[in-house]
Symmetry: C2
Subunit: 336 residues, 2 copies
DNA sequence: GGATGATGTCGAAGCGCTTCGATTGCTCGC
DNA sequence: GCGAGCAATCGAAGCGCTTCGACATCATCC
């Protein structure tokens, strides 16, 4: 194994000079730097990570904590993870994979052992038990999603309010005047109120702004509930032509229910959803949708972390703008 | 940060004794060991990973290289990764996540820097450019899948031959006498011949053993090709009642084609597939299938790696037995 | 023209751990 | 009853790197 002293000897300088030439932490003459780099290349020198971590008190490794629990959308997590790794590498960092299962202990372990010098935590719950720890750890962290109290934490997520608005604006532009939001099931509200409620806010605000008649209905994650909500909607808003669905589980049942009730998508009813693209695409009638931009969230999280590692200040909340993908499920309102 | 000298002082012993007490590499009196452990707990001591890696010349970290390319089944990869992390933790190891994109350089980097002391490589290609490197690296590795030449490498995968056999045996037990295999598209054969061909071997062997009339048809990954193959099958084997499909992409189109040709699944035609459970389940008619046991492959890979790290010999090839999940797509042959 | 800064380089200390003798008491066996 | 042998512990060296202070060199400025 080739070490820094080998490079130093080969380049005819001292080990410390090699170190400075590579890190740039002290001025080194152009001439010397080139000689050192040449030697590094020739000898195939790779600094020992452990030695570095020990002397430099930083490991250049990030921890990524991925969720395990059921109901997690796997492709989203995977895209996110890949984006984190790719971005981290651009900053010379590696990524240690941890599972939710490790809990607080696991976080403390990787930090205390000096294995990682920053953390990315996915699937943050409203009252996540790891929050106090993350707050008091002397290592920077970034959360994906917003807990109930995000004070003193750095969080990244889709701007759900803007997403709700965008759905309505889209429907409004297509001429729809009566719209409804089918929201998340109660469980979701319990765990992650913040994000579900922000959709409602955005939806309502945009509907009011556009002077649309609107209604909001939470919905259980079952076909039976979907059917009931569909019937209720038509009863209460007979002129309904635009629906926003923020509830993956009932997307399909809801469309089925509407069609069974005699409404064709998109001829009679336009549908937009907030859900992963895979879900929106694989429907019988693919719907226009806004997805969590997993890759951007991943790279954004890493970039925030890098700034924090550099001692720079970062905003506590980063809300990513929604992007809408138009599909067959929405159409211009047919004049009646 | 609490270090080993703190623990030593607190326990009234020397640092080396603490080290030995914790590693068990030298006999330490019961009494002392308990005192040390007590101090460790009380002080919340976590040995510094870098220092350990430096002095002990092992990092207790495994690299996991995950594929990026399109066409990869994401849930399978994810399950695999989670299983690797979970199993690794049981052995006191952590997992560094790398993407395929890093290539050979990336592997060399994490090894040369001493960041990891073993590697798990997924999605190994038939003539993978990383093979020579993996062979000559002085760190153990385990591959998921079999390259063309697996000499000197440790590989784990589903026993595809047994899977092919199991499908046929299942159909035979249900009374089917005329069966066919719809195989992978040519691209797959190019990249990973071994595994596709082993399915054919198993299929043929089991068919012969059961004295079934059988045929094998590769199939392009398009609905058009699927339709063509379906028609060809019925022409060449009019008495066909059992089909094994080893080609995710045409599973759905093929079933559609059969039904359009007047064959109902499973009444007229029983179908078994080798594909991820998600795929088999989400079909209009869920088919009986054999999936890659991702979790087992993951834990198996880690266990092999641990044995190699301990200097023990391990088999070069580990073939995991197939497990069949019965679904609506197969039925007893109806007497005619 | 000698004090003043840069600029570029070196030597040595030290990061926190493991590990290799060496040392100290013991228990045995004869 | 004394050396052999073993169990338990200690001290010190060293893993490969970063970083701090020191030093040498050279241009700069009244």
């Amino acid at each position: 194994m080739v070490k820094i002293t080998d490079v130093a000897r080969h380049a005819g300088v001292s080990p410390s000079t090699v170190s400075y030439a590579l890190s740039g932490k002290r001025p080194i003459s152009e001439e010397t730097r080139r000689r050192v780099e040449e030697s590094v290349r020739l000898l195939g020198y790779h600094p020992h990570a452990g030695a570095r971590a020990l002397a430099g008190r930083r490991s250049d490794v990030l921890a990524l904590v991925v969720p395990l629990r059921a109901g997690i959308d796997v492709p989203v997590v995977m895209r996110f993870a890949v984006s984190v790794v790719t971005t981290a590498r651009r900053y010379g960092h590696d990524v240690l994979l941890l599972t939710q299962e490790e809990g607080e202990e696991g976080l403390r372990r990787v930090v205390d052992t000096g294995l990682v010098d920053a953390l990315i935590v996915m699937d943050v719950q409203l009252h996540d038990p790891r929050l106090p720890l993350l707050r008091h750890l002397d290592r920077p962290s970034v959360l994906i999603g917003f807990p109930a109290d995000s004070d003193g934490l750095t969080c990244v997520d889709l701007d759900f309010k803007a997403a709700g608005e965008a759905c309505v604006e889209h429907l409004a532009r297509l001429g729809h005047r009566v719209v409804a939001l089918v929201g998340s099931p109660p469980e979701v509200y319990v765990r992650r109120t913040a994000f579900a409620q922000r959709v409602v806010q955005g939806f309502t605000a945009a509907a009011d702004r556009n002077r649309l008649s609107s209604a909001v209905h939470p919905c259980e994650a079952s076909p039976v509930a979907a059917r009931a909500v569909a019937e209720q909607l038509l009863r209460e808003q007979p002129a309904l032509t635009g629906v926003v669905i923020h509830n993956e589980a009932v997307l399909e049942p809801l469309i089925d229910a509407f069609e069974e009730l005699g409404l064709r998508v998109p001829t009679d009813l336009s549908i937009t959803a907030i859900c992963p693209d895979e879900v929106a695409e694989s429907l019988r009638v693919p719907v226009t949708s806004i997805a969590l931009p997993s890759s951007e969230v991943g790279s954004q999280a890493v970039e925030l972390l890098m700034r924090k590692l550099d001692g720079k200040a970062v905003p506590e909340a980063t809300l990513l703008p929604p992007t809408m993908t138009q599909r067959a499920g929405t159409a211009r309102r047919t004049a009646e």
